[in-house]
Amino acid sequence: MRYAFNFRDIWAQWPSIAEGIGVTLMLTAVTMVAGLVIGALGAAGRVYGRSWLRTPLAAYVEVVRNTPLLVQLFIIFFGLPSLGVRLDAVAAALIALSVNLGAYTTEIIRAGLEAVPRSQIEAGYSLGLSGTQVFRHVVLVPAIRIVYPALTSQFVLMMLATSIVSQISAPDLFHIASIIQSRTFRDFEIYAVIAMVYLALALILKLLFAATAQIAFARR
């Protein structure tokens, strides 16, 4: 039986696809910012904090990194309501994605902090800077520069992982795909197209990060 590929029906759905892209990008952007903040704080806590801070942070990192994102998502979206916390799909998605990314960024930034030579830190203190000032001006920027490739790789992975929120019917690109599937019955074509769209998004994101590196780390 010859299967007649029909992509025309898919192109006709372009507006819906665009909406899906929008939601995916929004989820990615918000998660990235949240992930960065959690990561910077978490890393600082793990490197400079006392044990009452370091232990819970270590537990957070280990639990999140050793359990699947899908299950974390289900716990937040399906599980929390039975504890009285009712969230809509997008809110649950953002929380799950941010908490997940935060565990990875904490570890990545922590490696960066530990890579800054001790002598730099001593020089900072010797000039009369306080601990917070040394962290902000002497340690943080070089640390992020060191781990920039690892950090941005994680961000790209996260953008692709947002597809998972389709499983709680958040209206992201992947969810739109299943809607279009039920409209057009072109199973293979729609997912092939969506796969290509993700590939393009990943490429654009990588280029954006490369450009940002040029600008942010440029000589001023």
């Binding site: 020089a123 900072g124 010797s126 009369g128």
Partner: protein, 243 residues
């Protein structure tokens, strides 16, 4: 009143006693050169004066304040004690200007333009006014070290500590750094230098200290001590270093 006083200072790293009851007094305006073999405690002594290292015994007093007292505000103290390290420790992600203006702006609250002027003047003192917008990796070792000196001078300290600042430099770059040190000395700064540059010490220092096994072994006017070593240890050391 003396600027720095060390009273029977004891410093241990684990089981190793690095400073063994060191006592010393430094008056304002003095240039103290400290020489000795590696491991004799010279660098450690400097690092104790600005609180980078803690001590296990004795007292260190700077301008009336006890450095090793836990109640002392080390941040405030370090604004008045400058230190330049062997490995310059310039901040690689900041330009020369920002390396120098960081502390004045962030610690003293000086405005950006005023801070830039401060940096320009500090750089002029070390002969690098034209490098104000360069980055550390664009400079030679000697230039980086001079920037490091300018960075410390910009905080207008009462005391400058120099921890073997020419040891990591190629020989031909050492001269430019020593010239700067002479200039700073002429301007009346109180300085304590750990150095291997014996000739420089003889020319510039008001007092020379030879350390051995964590103690001050010999002390006196630079010319006298170097010309007439009273102990075999100093004689052996000078022999090794000058030949």
């Amino acid at each position: 009143m003396s600027l720095v006083e060390l009273h029977d200072v004891v410093k241990r790293f684990g089981a190793n006693t690095v400073l063994d009851r060191v006592s010393l007094t430094v008056q304002p305006g003095e240039i103290i050169a400290i020489i000795g073999r590696s491991g004799s405690g010279k660098s450690t002594m400097l690092r104790c004066i600005n609180g980078l290292e803690s001590i296990q015994g004795g007292r260190i007093v700077f301008d009336g304040e006890t450095v090793n007292d836990p109640a002392t505000n080390l941040r405030k103290l370090r604004q008045r004690v400058g230190i330049v390290f062997q490995s310059y420790n310039l901040f690689p992600h900041l330009s020369v200007e920002r390396n120098i203006t960081l502390a004045p702006r962030v610690v003293k609250g000086i405005e950006r333009d005023a801070a830039r002027d401060l940096a320009a003047r500090a750089l002029a003192r070390v002969g690098l006014a034209d490098k104000i917008d360069a980055y550390p990796d664009q400079l030679s070792g000697g230039q980086q070290q001079r920037v490091a000196i300018a960075r410390s001078l910009a905080m207008q300290p009462q005391l400058m500590l120099f921890d073997e600042i020419t040891s990591a430099l190629d020989p031909e770059l050492t001269g430019e750094v020593l010239k700067v040190l002479e200039q700073v000395a002429k301007e009346g700064m109180t300085m304590m230098l750990v150095t291997h540059e014996i000739g420089f010490a003889r020319r510039v220092a008001t007092r020379l200290i030879f350390m051995h096994s964590g103690r001050i072994w010999e002390e006196g006017l630079a010319g006298d001590v170097l010309a007439k070593p009273r102990t075999p240890e100093l004689a052996t050391f000078l022999d090794a270093v000058l030949h």
